[in-house]
């Protein structure tokens, strides 16, 4: 697993400043397999939609009883919801919360997984066995069910709290794989060298091994985001989380519970958030797939 820059062939881009050259080369490698590029574009699009678009488009929040479940038209390209509010507007404003929470959750779970996975692998022995046992148990408990109960009991009222809860349920799989990676890296020469120089454990982990796992971690971060979105949407759809505000999952909840299913014209009120979530998930997965091909030459056909 080498970092992307190690594979750069700079012949053609020698005139462009180094940083930009790296980006150009990266894009070129991605475009070899269209899936990754499409994923990248998709993710960028949704990030733009969620974070930049709300700064441009004004929020349309007023209830308009005369326009409940209006048909799609020029003023309301995807129709309106059960309170007459524009659907497109809601989608624009609905991404930020979900994505932010997902990023936070992925961040937390990745940190937990990296920390304990590397410690388990480098220290070994009893500690390793304990960490592994905990991980195995955590993997066995059905995550969504536990998540539902925890959400029901703790009723997280901030997105931050929600992110923490989500993170607590996602680290096991990643931890195992980080641990396996570190185990295989442990035997390599540069680690031997670092050990013989008596550099501390943390130094070895963070300065020697992790840079080699950069690509691995990035990909798992993205996958963790997809899991976080999946879980978020699940518990919000079930109405378990008393979070107000607009986001795609809550749109789903309202749509489902306000009978949007049964009106022909409210089709997009449901389809909108469904498509938003589904397409974002797809983009993330494809981006991860493309990155895997870029980072791991062995898997290239």
């Amino acid at each position: 697993m080498t970092a992307a820059t190690g594979l750069v062939d700079r012949r053609d881009v020698s005139r462009i400043p180094a940083r930009l050259a790296g980006v150009v080369e990266f894009l070129r490698m991605m475009s070899r397999k269209p899936v990754g590029l499409i994923g990248l574009i998709g993710v960028l699009f949704f990030l733009f939609l969620a974070y930049v678009a709300p700064l441009i488009v004004p929020l349309q929040d007023q209830v308009d009883v005369t326009a409940i479940y209006a048909k799609p038209s020029w003023t309301h390209p995807l129709g309106t919801d059960f309170q007459g509010r524009d659907v497109v507007n809601q989608i624009v404003f609905g991404g930020g919360d979900i994505i932010t929470t997902a990023i936070l959750a992925a961040l937390f779970s990745t940190l937990i997984a990296i920390t304990f996975g590397s410690i388990a692998a480098t220290v070994g022995g009893r500690l390793d066995q304990i960490i592994l046992a905990i991980t195995d148990v955590a993997l066995t408990i059905p995550q969504l069910i536990l998540l539902i109960v925890i959400a029901a009991i703790f009723r997280p009222s901030s997105f931050f709290a929600l992110a923490v809860i989500l993170a607590l349920l996602q680290w096991p799989a990643l931890l195992r794989q980080i641990r396996a990676q570190v185990l295989s890296l442990k035997e390599r020469d540069f680690v031997e060298a670092a050990r013989s120089l008596d550099l501390g454990l943390l130094h070895i982990i963070f300065r020697e091994m992790l840079p080699n796992m950069r690509s691995y971690i990035v990909i798992h971060f993205i996958i963790a985001m997809t899991l976080a979105i999946y879980a978020q949407a699940a518990i919000m759809f079930l109405g378990l989380v008393p979070l107000s505000g607009k986001n795609w999952a809550i749109m789903l909840y309202f749509a489902y519970n306000q009978g949007a299913l049964f009106f022909k014209d409210s089709f997009f009120y449901l389809m909108g958030p469904i498509m938003a979530i589904a397409l974002f998930q797809l983009s993330l997965v494809w981006l991860a797939s493309g990155l895997e091909d870029v980072f791991n030459p062995r898997l290239r056909n």
């Binding site: 899936v35 390793d128 066995q129 592994l132 046992a133 195995d136 148990v137 993997l139 066995t140 408990i141 059905p142 995550q143 969504l144 069910i145 536990l146 998540l147 539902i148 109960v149 925890i150 029901a152 009991i153 703790f154 195992r176 794989q177 396996a180 990909i219 996958i223 997809t226 899991l227 999946y230 949407a233 699940a234 759809f237 079930l238 109405g239 378990l240 789903l252 489902y256 299913l261 049964f262 022909k264 089709f267 449901l270 389809m271 469904i274 979530i277 589904a278 998930q281 797809l282 993330l284 997965v285 494809w286 991860a288 797939s289 895997e292 091909d293 791991n296 898997l299 056909n301």
Partner: protein
């Protein structure tokens, strides 16, 4: 949910080349005797930890349900704290006056006897009986869907690998990747929305519930047909959610198996393509997938919750949501435990199956010796 990219599937296949069981054995070294002992020990450990977690969740957390219940009772019936506590004791089936360790031990003791307490709502009914009445429906739908997706997915994955880079391969792989990336409940919603409501192809209102009202349960073909009818949508969703994973994993595994030396030798021996595909490539490729099956079984129980909600299918998931909304804590606790037990059993079965299928695991010694 089964989010998997093609390369991830391949990585997973490689890490799963040995069964989870043998990995455990590898970790603990020579400490343990037979693998079955380890598996059972791990099972008990998991149940123990899970029950402790639920105990902590329900009893010890600040703003614990018990305290909330006591407050509720005090407000509802205008009784003193002591009386409310007494009532709560009965409800939760625990002695609130005893020290916390004793409560914990009593709780564990009850568990060992299979006593999960009584439901809040229906005071006379035990949690265990409620769960046992709904769990089979979930297992039926989930199990059928998963098995079907496994069989079909493996077949498609095998073909895709054999016809690598063909149109079929690209279609199947991309299709599988797309479907597995979309959360199961979204697929369920889409089915209801598009096929049920907009196109009216599927009579979803009729398909609610586990079986039609009025039909007498039994092993009659009419009844079986009826439950299949009602379970068909959930089964379809479980099928679609997982088929991508099997296709991609089997494709990876088959491609790896095709590279093996013994396949080349088999061709040199003049074996028929059919025999090579089934016994030489197929059997070796499927091995790591058996472990993945166990892991998927664990994940799917969780995803079933929402899908049952959408299709109003009276399985354990629907009950869980109901119990959450009704604050029926013993039931919630019980469901967590029972579903964990299901996952544990699935894991054990998968490990046993794996050690049966792969003679390299578990057979000590052999005819070695020069």
């Amino acid at each position: 949910m089964a989010t998997i990219t093609p390369a991830q599937g391949e990585l997973q296949v490689r890490t799963l080349q040995r069964s989870p069981l043998s990995q455990v054995r590898g970790h603990l070294g020579g400490l343990w005797g037979r693998p079955i002992t380890q598996a059972i020990a791990k099972a008990f450990l998991t149940i123990f930890v899970t029950s402790t977690i639920t105990f902590v969740l329900i009893r010890l957390m600040p703003g614990s349900p018990v305290e909330i219940k006591i407050d509720e009772l005090m407000q509802q019936s205008q009784i003193s704290y002591a009386e409310a506590a007494a009532q709560a004791s009965g409800l939760f089936d625990i002695n609130l006056n005893a020290p916390i360790q004793d409560q914990y031990l009593e709780y564990l003791g009850n568990l060992v006897h299979g006593n999960l307490g009584n439901s809040f709502l229906s005071r006379g009914t035990t949690v265990m009986s409620i769960i046992l009445s709904v769990l089979p429906w979930t297992l039926f739908a989930v199990g059928t869907g998963l098995l079907l997706s496994f069989v079909v997915g493996i077949a498609l994955g095998l073909v895709a690998a054999y016809r690598r880079n063909s149109l079929l391969d690209h279609t199947v792989s991309t299709g599988g990747s797309i479907i597995s990336s979309i959360p199961g409940y979204l697929i369920a919603l889409l089915i209801v929305l598009i096929f049920g409501i907009q196109l009216r192809w599927i009579p979803i209102t009729q398909m609610r519930g586990a079986f039609s009202p009025g039909i007498t349960p039994g092993f009659s073909p009419a009844f079986i047909g009826d439950i299949l009818f009602h379970a068909s949508l959930p089964i379809t969703v479980f099928f679609l959610t997982h088929i991508g994973l099997w296709i991609l994993s089997m494709r990876s595994a088959t491609l790896a198996a095709l590279e093996e030396d013994h396949v080349t030798v088999a061709r040199a021996r003049g074996l028929t393509d059919f025999r090579i595909t089934t016994a030489y490539v197929g059997r070796n490729a499927v091995l790591p997938l058996v472990s993945q099956f166990a892991i998927a079984a664990g994940a799917v129980v969780g995803g079933a919750v929402i899908i049952e909600q959408i299709f109003v299918y009276q399985g354990v998931g629907l009950r869980l949501v109901a119990s959450v909304n009704q604050r029926d804590y013993p039931l919630m606790q019980g469901i967590i435990l029972m579903t964990t037990v299901c996952v544990i059993i699935a894991n054990l079965v998968a490990d046993l199956l794996y050690s049966k299928l792969d003679p390299r695991i578990g057979r000590a010694g052999g005819a070695t010796g020069k």
